[in-house]
């Protein structure tokens, strides 16, 4: 079998939105700016874009899954130190798509208990730091990926006590 060509490395670096939103970084969630126009040269209509979330010290060891069946789910974060979520059609990130400007990682509290195959966007269990990248997956495997983001450290302040009078 011919080896699949390695996925194209796009220069885009995922980052948090620059706007001053008080909810963009909490103890268990964080927000990312939605990449617009990044995957268009490589994407077909049937491709999907995934978000890879990994602990910052495990990001170098992450290997792109060869197919959708090998995608590490949210539940395996403690053991695999990474997971993939936010499976979206590539058309949603196209240049012409009218989209919300922000993606929220960790906002779905209802999943995680089910043993379903749907990708879960559950709250992050620890402050991290985490690194993320976007991965464009086609029928035959990963086609393109962005660079890893800078480490994102979640808020740890809610462990403190209230102010004294």
């Amino acid at each position: 079998l011919p080896a699949c060509p390695p996925p194209a490395l796009l220069p885009y670096v995922p980052h948090m939105p620059p706007a001053a939103l008080p909810g963009k970084l909490t103890a268990t969630t964080f927000a990312l700016e939605r990449p617009c126009c990044v995957f268009d040269p490589h994407a077909n209509a049937s491709d999907t874009v995934w978000l890879v979330v990994a602990f910052a010290n495990a990001s170098a060891a992450f290997r792109n899954p060869p197919s959708r069946a090998d995608v590490p789910p949210y539940e395996r974060l403690p053991t695999a130190h990474s997971y993939m979520t936010l499976e979206t059609a590539a058309a949603a990130y196209a240049c012409s798509a009218p989209s919300p400007a922000v993606l929220r990682v960790g906002g779905d509290t209802a999943c995680g208990d089910q043993c379903g195959r749907d990708p879960c966007n559950g709250p992050l269990p620890s402050p991290g730091p985490y690194r993320v990248k976007f991965l464009l997956m086609g029928c035959h495997g990963p086609k393109a990926e962005t660079r890893w983001s800078d480490p994102i450290l979640l808020r740890r302040g809610t462990g403190g006590t209230a102010v004294p009078p």
Partner: protein, 237 residues
Amino acid sequence: MCGIALTAECIFFVSDPHGLYPLLEATENDDIYAAAWIGIFVGFALFALSILGIVGVIKCNRTLLLVYIILMLITYAFEMASCITAATHRDFLTPNLFLKQMLERYNKSDTVNNNDKWMTEGVTKTWNKLMLQNQCCGVQGPSDWQQYMSAFRTTHSDADFPWPRNCCVMNDKGSPLNLDGCKLGVPGYYNSNGCYDAISGPMNTHAWGVAWFGFAILCWTFCVLLGTMFYWSRTEY
């Protein structure tokens, strides 16, 4: 006349038009309310005594005037105590006090006894109403819920509730206009102001109103008393 005015003013404060009394009650130091209650009774007493005084002057009756003077002095002392209490306890109401109370009591689920439960329910209902009516969130802002640990945080997950639902801008039916926008903190979908102004404004007016109006009445009553004593010393049996 002054008596009636004082009574009216203190009844207004005691009726708690802004609904903030539960917050004071939970601080276990509601002396400015006690001061207002005393103000009501003092005002009424002043009114009754003034009738007595007028009768005594008309009838040139020395004993009646003596009774009037003594009762006025007692009332005077009460009103003085009430004014001083209201003035000094104003300094007790700081942002940190309400912040600590809000973080410890709002939506607290494990209350130890009935008194605790009563105060917790009072604080929770008052804050819910406050945030809804004044379009505000927290004491200094929604970041209060993110920066500090709270009783609310133990029962509501950070991912679903970075801050309480009432911090969201609501539509006509009482549900959030845009829940995701509210959770993220997008301007227009959440209340970014703190509620401290909405709390301290009425409470300060209350404390200053009771204190300074009371002092003004005391000054006026002092003059009237001096005049009466002078008149008493000049009348004969």
